[in-house]
């Protein structure tokens, strides 16, 4: 049944895509003097099966339907308004103005991604994997309203961005996956965030040319309450409930990306610490709660196209060839615990000095079929294992499989 429906979708989608790539028209664009508007549309349709949800509530999902306009007002002022049509409660994604007179110091204001986390800062439409990494989706702040200075220095060897944001980002509040639950936002009164990225061999011609390193950090004060980070599996199941926090929330991250030819290797480590001032039994201070995680991802475009900047098939499907094929793999982990024991054995309660740890470890294997520059079919199988069987989706089971087939259309 699923396969039949998927085939029907493909048959419906492909003629349009084929026609589009044959004509090779650019996205709709309107220019009037110094004023330019480009229209972008992007869609994701998923077929998903969850081992942890035998009922199978998520069989067929229109995951994303994004429409954006972007462009320039005069030469120095860029703008973007990006909206998710399926999300009636929080439809606005990126809504910002960017003043770009000086390459070394551009200024952006509005709603956009807080500069933290390589995976989170990569568009979900340009990501080689169907789901973001656990840390990219949950530990990075995501979007918020703020002001940021960013720029390029040293001939592109160093990019930086830093700014002030209204709160702690929308990732702690709701997921990009609209099928998942929405949570109360942590009341953070102002977030400072910064990121620097180095490409030290950018100007060389060797293999190291495509090597990038990033370092990032955010800091903000969280109001007292049950506002600790929560741990969600890829299907949204909460394997770690939030704990009481109060005080400084500090995020630190380091990442790297190497894209030699058709290959890519990407890795990232994030750590979030939350203070718990006065949150213990008898109002005592507790050791910080620590959330940390990492991933290591590799991709290979087996048809040989370059990976850097996105895969565009040399022989677009169906008129000029079979498109491009890519295999992908990612291993990752995200774990929750406390910085100290407080002299106690571990407990699961939200005021425990010694928090009983739990972690999600995931292995993703899959592939991408880049039909042409508009269409992509992706397939991912994810094996997740939860450390604590009492906090896993099904009693006494710790390992779960899920599979997702995605159709992507971007224009």
């Amino acid at each position: 049944m699923r396969l039949t429906s998927l085939c029907l979708c493909l048959i419906t989608l492909l003629p349009g895509v084929a026609a589009a790539q044959d004509v090779r028209f650019p996205p709709p664009s309107l220019r009037a003097g110094e004023f330019r508007i480009d229209l972008r549309t992007r869609f994701h349709f998923d077929v998903r099966g969850l081992d942890s949800d035998p009922v199978g509530k998520d069989d067929f999902i229109w995951r994303r339907a994004r429409v954006a306009i972007e462009g320039r007002i005069y030469d120095d002022l860029e703008y973007e308004v990006d909206t998710e049509l399926r999300d009636t409660e929080h439809p606005w994604r990126d809504v910002f103005l960017n003043y770009r007179r000086f390459n070394a110091a551009e200024v952006r204001g509005g709603k956009f991604k807080v500069p933290f986390g390589r995976d989170q800062l990569t568009s979900v439409f340009g990501n080689s994997f169907i789901s973001r990494s656990l840390i990219g989706a949950q530990l990075s702040p995501g979007r918020d309203i703020g002001v940021m200075v960013h720029g390029r220095l040293g001939g592109g060897k160093m990019n930086y961005s830093g700014g002030w944001f209204d709160s702690d980002g929308d990732n702690v509040q709701f997921s990009e996956d609209l099928e998942q639950n929405e949570f109360e936002a942590a009341p953070v009164d102002g977030l400072l965030a910064g990121r620097v990225e180095f490409a030290p061999w950018e100007a060389t011609r060797g293999l190291a040319r495509r090597l990038h390193f990033g370092f990032d950090a955010t800091g903000g004060d969280v109001a007292p309450g049950l506002f600790g980070m929560r741990g969600r599996m890829t299907d949204g199941f909460v394997f770690f409930e939030p704990v009481y926090v109060s005080g400084r929330r500090l995020r630190l991250g380091v990442d790297g990306l190497w894209t030699p030819g058709p290959f890519s290797v990407q890795a990232e480590y994030n750590r979030v610490s939350d203070q718990r001032n006065g949150q213990g039994l008898g109002d005592v201070d507790l050791p910080d709660v620590i959330v940390q995680g990492w991933y290591l991802a590799g991709t290979w475009v087996v048809t040989g196209e370059g990976k850097s900047g996105g895969v565009e098939p040399r022989h677009p499907f169906p008129l000029h060839g079979a498109g491009a094929f890519e295999v992908v793999a990612r291993i990752e982990e995200m774990r929750f615990g406390s910085a100290g024991t407080g002299g106690e054995p571990p407990f699961t309660n939200p005021r425990a000095a010694n928090i009983l740890p739990n972690r999600d470890r995931a292995l993703t294997l899959g592939g991408n079929w880049y039909l042409n520059r508009f269409g992509r079919v992706a397939f991912n199988m994810v094996r997740e294992s939860i450390q604590d069987p009492l906090r896993s989706p099904l009693p006494d089971r710790t390992t779960f499989w899920s599979g997702t087939l995605r159709l992507q259309f971007v224009m």
């Binding site: 039994l281 008898g282 054995p345 407990f347 425990a352 009693p395």
Partner: protein
């Protein structure tokens, strides 16, 4: 047996003995916790915001972490929540204390949980403990209880009753060994959740209609395994002809134990029990391992000692099970005999050769318990009644304890 085999056997023996000793020690310590010769001191330490939140949200079963100090032991990170039906209070909350809420292996003196009854429905603050003691005295399983002064974050918040939870530990202690030589505690345990008037009328075969029997063990089993035997039992209670009623219903219920139970409730003038004024209430129901047979277990006896002349057959005709069971001569006789036994037990003299005109067991208990809790009860400023009402209600119990036996015997001789 080889030397190696003997050594292996010896090690196993030592381990088994050590485990038995540990179990015995925990059991002995739990006995001390329920020792009713003293008023205990219990201390809970919570985050101050949580205690306020618990009192504010007293109608909800939200758990809050706390540390418990009692019997010289500190148990960190227990879970406490507001509890009760009519006794829920935001001023003096009744509490359920779960040792294993945040660590599945944590126990306190071998207990996984206990209840702190806020005693707000009983001006004497004695009824619950006294009634349960009487059930146990007459050989029916009932929770152990003792009084306690409760301190939260160092502040005295009232006089409470510590009530043993009806759980696997209680079942094992009450029923001993099962047919396989193991502990009889792995059957299906239900708490009767009062939602409306119900007296064992046939509700049909939809399991959802029997979810008033709220499973406390095997909760994840198939509905047919959980409620199927209850549906069959209710059908048998309602549809079986009189001639085969005992044989058929005995498949599902120990009818003698049922009759004993309602007879003790009748003696204690329980108006909110199995034959309660508004339908059945305040009991647990245990279906034994590998069996269809079940037994009622006493719970929440704040409304006993209703009145001295309480009718011993009140509610019998309205309740299908009681009416049909007592229509059988042998069970009707058993019912009256249990009432006589209860009356005799209540009036039993102490074993020290005192004169026959001395106070009976029930009166001695009321006197002893009243003296024991008087000062803590007077100091309890959060109880919803005055100290005069407290004193007066204890006095009512004293009168009841002296005169109820004669009243019951007179009613039995009239109706036999």
């Amino acid at each position: 047996m080889s030397a190696q085999g003997a050594a292996k056997y010896g090690v196993r023996l030592v381990i088994v003995l050590a485990l038995l000793c540990a179990a015995r020690t925990a059991s002995a310590q739990a006995d001390e916790f329920f020792d009713d010769s003293t008023v205990h001191d219990l201390r809970l330490t919570l985050n101050s915001k949580d205690w306020s939140a618990l009192k504010q949200n007293f109608k909800e079963n939200i758990y809050y972490p706390a540390s418990l100090q009692a019997q010289g032991v500190t148990v960190p990170n227990v879970g406490i929540r507001s509890r009760g039906l009519g006794s829920r209070s935001g001023t003096k909350p009744g509490l359920r204390v779960d040792m294993d809420r945040y660590n599945a292996n944590q126990t306190f003196l071998g207990l996984k949980s206990f209840v702190l009854d806020n005693l707000v429905q009983d001006p004497s603050m004695l009824r619950e403990r006294l009634a349960m003691a009487f059930f146990r005295r007459l050989g029916l399983p009932a929770p152990r209880e003792a009084h306690a002064r409760l301190f939260v974050n160092g502040t005295f918040v009232g006089l409470y009753a510590i009530v043993e939870t009806i759980d696997k530990g209680f079942l094992g202690r009450s029923f001993g060994h099962d047919s396989h030589g193991g502990t009889e505690n792995d059957g299906y345990l239900f708490e009767y959740d009062y939602t409306r008037e119900y007296r064992f009328e046939n509700l049909g075969s939809n399991y959802d209609d029997y979810k008033i029997f709220n499973p406390k063990t095997h909760e994840n089993d198939a509905a047919a395994k959980i409620w199927g035997p209850i549906v069959d039992m209710v059908k048998a209670i309602n549809d079986t002809p009189d001639s085969i009623f005992e044989r058929e219903v005995s498949t599902y219920l120990d009818l003698t134990m049922f009759v004993n139970h309602i007879a003790i409730e009748a003696f204690l003038a329980e108006d909110d029990g199995i034959l309660g004024y508004a339908g059945m209430n305040n009991f647990y129901f245990y279906r034994f391992e590998d069996s269809k047979r079940s037994q009622f277990l006493a719970w929440d006896k704040d409304n006993t000692f209703h009145s001295l002349d309480f009718d011993i057959t009140k509610g019998v005709n309205e309740n299908v099970l009681a009416r049909r069971t007592l229509a059988q001569p042998q069970y009707r006789n058993r019912f009256f005999q249990q009432l006589i036994d209860a009356a005799n037990s209540a009036m039993e003299q102490d074993g020290e050769g005192n004169s026959k005109s001395g106070p009976g067991w029930l009166e001695r208990e009321v006197t002893r318990m009243s003296a024991q809790i008087r000062s803590a009860g007077m100091a309890d400023n959060l109880k919803p009644f005055s100290n005069n009402e407290f004193e007066s209600s204890m006095n009512d119990l004293l009168i009841f304890s002296r005169e109820r036996a004669d009243v019951v015997k007179a009613q039995v001789s009239q109706r036999r």
